[in-house]
Every structure is written in C-alpha cells, then in structure tokens.
Symmetry: C2
Subunit: 328 residues, 2 copies
C-alpha cells in the first residue's frame, strides 16, 4: 500500500498503489457555496444540486483518467428543507451515480444550520497511467474537451437579470443553466487520455480555464502560449459577455465550474489521440502549446498578453461580482 500522489502534490485526487491490478484514486469536493446562488434564486432544484454534487466529485476522478467505483455524499440540511426536499436531493445524487455507472456507497446525512453538500469520489485507474498535472513539457499541445465559461456566465447573468432588464432568448438561457443542471463529466475522455500515455498533464476546468492553465504552469514548470482564436467560445457565453460589456474570451476563461478537461499532448501523438477520440465519438480542441518559462499568455489580434479573465481563488466568494472586473 503506497501513497503515490498526496496532498503535497496538489493534484485533483490522492492516488494509492494498492498492490492490485488497479490503482486507487480518491478525491473530495465541497460544493455548497455562493455558486448555489442559482439554487437560492430558484433556477436550480434540489434534484439539480444533488446531481451537481456527484458530477463535481466525479470530475476530479475523470481528470486523473480513473473510472469511478463509488461516491460518498455528505448531505446536511436545515429544518427549512423538508423530508421531500431531502429525498429530492438524494434522488439527484442517485441519478447522477447511475448516469456515470457508479454507486452512492455511503456518506453522512443529518441536520445543519443550512444546506451543506460535500462528497468523495473513489476511482480506479491503470497503474502508471494516472493523469497528473505535472508532466507537461515545452512543445506539448494544450487541449480542452470543449467550451468553458458557461457556468460562470450563468452566475454572472441570472442574479442580475431582473435588475438589468436582461432577457436572452429562452434557448440561450436554457443552455446557460444546462451545465449546472446536468453537467457532463468527462470520464470517457479521461479514460482515453490515460489508455496510452497521450496526456502528459491533465486537470479539470472546475476553477475556470485561466486558473486551470495557471495551475498547470505551476505543477509542470512550463509556460503556455494560448491562441485566442482557437479557444472554443459557446455562443451563450458570447451573449452574456456582450451584456456585461466584457470580452468573450475573458468570460470564457474566468471562474466557472465547468467540467471540461484541459490537457497536454506530445505533438507526435496528437493524431492518434484524435483518432481514438473520434472512434469513441468524443472531441477536443487544440488551443495552444506549452513553452519554456513560467508565463501563460494569449496571442490574439496580433498581440501577446497575459491570460484575460478572473481566475477563481479559494478566498473569493462571489464570482458574479468579479466578472465585470474581467474587462481587458
């Protein structure tokens, strides 16, 4: 029993060599916080936040290239939440576990001053194939499994919707909420990335793309040069950016609890990696490359500048208040 990745490594999860054909991957995520302003405002149901709790925890497992074998959930709720509400949270938890082929294997329930949701995901991976944040090398291509910033855009939009008289069309609003309601965790993508050692480094984007890239800088000891026009931007994010008066790229890279994977791949392997994604109906975008140094920059419109947007920090509590400051 050897702990191969611990808290000091600042990866998404702890990793154990358990003397078995598989390696154990375990991570914990607390999700109750100001991000659930959308729940308080009625945009998310009790079911949705139960579902989200599981997704947030499974995303840490996905980022390591592991397959989940169980989720523990801590659900503490205030007397204001009746038994029906509690059962609804649990139903969301169970549905998310089912959707990702795993089980809610335990945890802790009970009362608290307010709703508190925390979880732990347990997964297994092939030994020596666990995806870490630390292996990116200069020249590796920086990739992301899809558009980022949708969840942050939702938090920037809905709480100020009424006061500002905003009204995006219903399809756009539904798209903004969908990432919160039924987040898609990139377990399949993580598994492909660890099948052969395609990814030299990998992390989920649950702190936002800018923060994720900055963490890869620190963990791998490389810089990154991002091509601004290659970063996928969801049209809904662009619409919110316009309302906010900020650059779409800045909003796409800002604090946002998306569950995309950002990863680096040796350019010699990018073709076979893409083939394998294609075969499984999965996709990714190449958005830049790792370079020597310790700076992450974006190249856009002929100029090179620091990554735009506001990176999530553990001390900051209200990302909706931050987004307007994200103007370049």
């Amino acid at each position: 029993m050897v702990l191969t990745v611990g808290a000091d490594r600042r990866d998404d999860c702890a990793v154990y060599d358990i003397g078995a054909p598989v390696t154990l991957v375990v991570g914990s995520d607390y999700v109750r916080g100001p991000k659930f302003v959308l729940h308080e405002l009625g945009y998310l149901t009790d079911y949705d936040i139960g579902y989200y709790l599981v997704a947030a925890n499974l995303s840490d497992i996905a980022a390591m290239g592991a397959t989940p074998i169980g989720v523990l959930s801590v659900v503490r709720y205030p007397s204001a939440l009746d038994d029906e509400g509690f059962r609804t949270v649990m139903a969301g938890i169970h549905q998310a576990c089912t959707d990702y082929g795993t089980l809610n294997v335990g945890g802790d329930i009970g009362s608290a001053e307010r709703l508190i949701l925390s979880g732990t995901a347990i997964g297994v991976a092939s030994p020596q194939r666990v995806l870490l944040r630390s292996g990116a090398r200069p020249g590796d291509l920086l990739c992301v499994t899809g558009a980022c910033g949708l969840l942050g855009a939702a938090v920037a939009y809905f709480p100020k919707r009424a006061a500002n008289g905003w009204a995006l069309d219903p399809a756009t609003e539904a798209r903004l909420l969908d990432g919160w309601r039924r987040p898609r965790v990139r377990i399949a993508e993580g598994r492909v990335l660890s099948r052969r050692p395609y990814a030299t480094a990998c992390q989920d984007t649950s702190d936002g793309l800018k923060a994720t890239i900055e963490q890869l800088v620190r963990a791998s000891g490389v810089g990154f040069r991002v091509q601004g026009d290659r970063v996928p931007i969801d049209p809904a994010v662009a619409e919110v950016a316009e309302l906010l008066g900020v650059e779409p790229l800045a909003l796409a890279m800002s604090a946002s609890s998306d569950f995309q994977l950002a990863f680096t791949v040796d350019p010699a392997l990018i073709g076979s990696c893409r083939d394998e994604f294609d075969r499984e109906g999965l996709a990714f975008d190449v958005i830049g490359e790792a370079v020597t140094g310790d700076r992450a920059v974006v190249v856009s419109g002929g100029s090179t500048r620091p990554l735009p947007g506001v990176a999530w920090r553990h001390q900051q509590s209200d990302i909706s208040s931050l987004v307007p400051d994200a103007q370049p």
Copy 2:
C-alpha cells in the same frame, strides 16, 4: 472490484473487495454542527476541531476493524477566520493524522459562509474480516471499550455553566473537555477484534450508547439485555448528571460523540478475546448480552425497562436541550 458493503447496509463505511490482499474501507463524516457549541463558546480551539474532524472519520474506519491509509479533509471557512485560524485547523488535522499513523492525502479548502468541516477516511482490512453491524446472535456478549457519555455531558454542562452557577472542580472540567480535544480513536481495539473473528458485530458509539445498541438491534435482528450496573460510568458524567438532575446511566447512554466501540462476542471466545486485549494493553467491559427479539432493555435495581437516555437522531440539533428530558 466488488462493492461488498454499500449504503443500503447502513454500516459505518463502504467496503470494497479490490482483488488485492486487502479490502478497502471508506467512510465520510461531517462534523461541523451544533456540537461545536463548545468551539463557539471558546472551550475548543481551532486546533481542537481540526483534530476532532480526523478522529471522527477514523472512528468509522476503526469500527470496521480497518487500518487507516489516509484522510481527506474538507475545510471551508468564513472570512471571519483568518489565515492563522485556518492554518491552526489544518495543524490539528495533521497532528491527528500523525497520531494515528496516517496521512492527510487531500480534500478541499476554500471559503464558505461559516466554518464547515467534513472528511473521508480510507482504510484497509483483511478480506472476510471486516466488522459489520449485522452479525450479532442471541447469546453473544455485548461489550464496550470504555465509558460513554463524556462528550454529551460536556455539551450539557458548559453552555449552561455560567447561567446556572455551576462550577465542577477543574480536573473534572478538564476531563469533560478531553474527549473533545484529544479524542482517542479505537483503531487498535478494532484491529484486535477483526484479527480473529472475535466480534460478530461492531459499531462506534459516536451517536451515543443507546443509539448504537438500537442500531445493532436493527442491523442484527436481535434484542439486547443490558446490565445497568455493568455499564461503565465516568465520574465526570455522574457529576454532570447530578447537576442536571438525571440518572447517571441515562446521561451515559444519551447522545454523545464518543468514539468507543460497542461489539458482540461469542461467549466461547470472550476469554481469548480478553487475553488478546490484555496483551496489547487494551480493555473492554461486558455490559450485557444479545437475546432473541427486537427490544433493547436494561436490567437495574431489580427492574427491566427500555434503555434510558436520549438517542441521537439526525434531525435533532441540540443535544444539550435534550438531556434534561432524559430523566427516567
């Protein structure tokens, strides 16, 4: 990879057969709650509650007969807690891990509206030797590793100390707080109980002795006959009971987050079990026996009656308010 004990079994932890020489045991416990009234009143430091978080999680592992291999901690704190306070919580977490020979392998930190502490403990046990709640048979002896009720007595005493003009002697007060400040987790005892199949059922007493026995009733499908005069009662608990005007046995069995183990042993094995405890400098008390039926009763003073005390329920939020109702 087979999940052998899941949430449906209502044991302390989930258990996995991982195709290795060991079985994996994982459990989560949230500890921030009204029980930390003692922290709010200044009787417990930030360090103490970090230490307690780890102990509470390790106790679930101990109850399964497992050896811990890691603890994940979720520490979310309000802006009112400065960096120094946060570091002090983490120092308590690390010290408890060190004291129990394990490591803090990760988790989640960040801000929240108030201090929130949750954790997950991971352990390993010998296959087929995991201690469950479900194996007690009529005739088995009911045992406990030590006196219960100290932590509940502390919660009943300190918040009302000033208003009632109570002043137990300093040594008694220190004893009441010691279980909160440096709880002793019964990992060594759990390990002995699983070494040979001594314990037919086992559970920690973190909900209080009465609740624990009632849960063993439901899980094992047996009743229990407890000998009131055999239940160990700490003198400090007796002193608080006198102040409260309740029966000492009732307070000793009421809601209290002690980390003793309650377990059942076949009478034919009780001698060798005791010998093995003695050899390791450990101890337990036999307090009754399992019987057919589904009722737990106590025999004291020639009469037989339901277990006294107030069992902890997940919906109840203030055990200090319950204790006075515990009068027989």
